[in-house]
Subunit: 221 residues, 2 copies
């Protein structure tokens, strides 16, 4: 009996050490001209703190400099066609999304990559792109409260939630405006790697994490 | 008497409209390899929402791609020598600051630009660079709480504050770690343009602003 227990313990330890040695998952961030700065960098601060678990790839229609709505430019490493397989697909918001809802090539890429991804998440008006691509049909989702009407028009078959810091529905996690994306990202980390890891990441960034998806001071009354 | 009042009202209205037409102030952000993402982009989300008031310039020793500690790269427009006059100087933190405290050219540039600036602010270990450059001597300042000992060693003549989300001392405003910089930036905006403007910026980003510099959950016990 003791021998069986020892074998089982050994097996569990090997599996656990194997899990630590798994290659990192790929998180693809789709950026575009006039994306919103904090939509991207709040989440990337958090996901970027786990380089052994998550490899971040910045993807754009045209690689190189991509200017944010605030002016500062990010560097996109690859284009849509050459992006590797994405375990996690992340679509940020920003004024640029208003043009992109008419861009069939981008929407088709988003749909294909979302179908293959284990997790799909958006910040702010990023959910307009997911909705217009048909990714969120019949799922619950949220978005920026100031752009609520325009975003919801992009997805009439989505179950839009007016009061939520973020909404989790299966593999789809959509956050409210801009800064809400940072709270949501920590929830994604908690879901993937446990609450202890997520709290360690938040504390490391001295970030006062709003852990409650129902606490939404910016909700539409 | 009525005529005098009308003339005075007219004069005040012209002055107010003149203030609206003043050229924007220049905010220079010094970035370096292994800067911390959110140290830079939390503040830039907020300052970047006021393009008629603030022009942001990203400065680095070597312009072009500058990689953050999280991997994602920012684009720096100019080098130290060619940077324009900076009304506001902003020094973010990050692991890269550990090397830069030995870089005399960078420290000398920081000192010169800080002397000429109307406001100087830092996030996280950015205050180590200000301290080592001699900018903060005999002033109150704070920094990241996890790097407190190392940072404070860079400026033995600085009055380091252990418990503070941020510290304001004359034209110097230093924040605690990473995310604290976003709270501090909104205070800088309130100081420059009034609380209403700052609240509008925070609400636009759906940011739950910790307005109280004494509320520091990450302080050293």
């Amino acid at each position: 009996m003791i021998r069986i227990i020892l074998v089982l313990v050994g097996l569990l330890m090997s599996l656990s050490s194997l899990a630590d040695k798994l290659p990192p998952k790929t998180l693809g961030v789709f950026v575009y001209p006039h994306f919103e700065l904090l939509d991207v960098f709040g989440p990337l601060e958090m996901f970027g703190s786990l380089p052994d678990k998550i490899k971040i790839v910045i993807i754009a229609e045209h690689p190189g400099r991509v200017k944010s709505d605030q002016g500062t430019a990010i560097y996109a490493e690859t284009d849509l066609q050459h992006a590797p397989h994405l375990d996690y697909l992340f679509i940020p918001g920003g004024f640029g999304s208003r043009q992109l809802v008419s861009d069939k090539a981008v929407l088709s890429w988003i749909k294909q990559r979302a179908d293959k991804a284990d997790l799909v998440f958006s910040v702010c008006t990023g959910s307009a792109l997911l909705a217009k691509a048909g990714v969120l049909d019949h799922h619950r989702a949220t978005t920026n409260k100031k752009a609520f009407q325009w975003v919801t028009e992009q997805g009439p078959d989505v179950q839009w939630v007016k009061h939520a810091r973020w909404v989790e529905d299966g593999k789809f996690i959509t956050s409210s405006g801009v800064a809400a994306g940072t709270d949501m990202s920590l929830q994604v980390i908690a879901r993937l790697y446990g609450m202890k890891t997520s709290e360690r990441v938040a504390n490391g960034a001295e970030y006062i994490w709003n852990k409650d998806p129902a606490k939404d001071p910016f909700a539409i009354k």
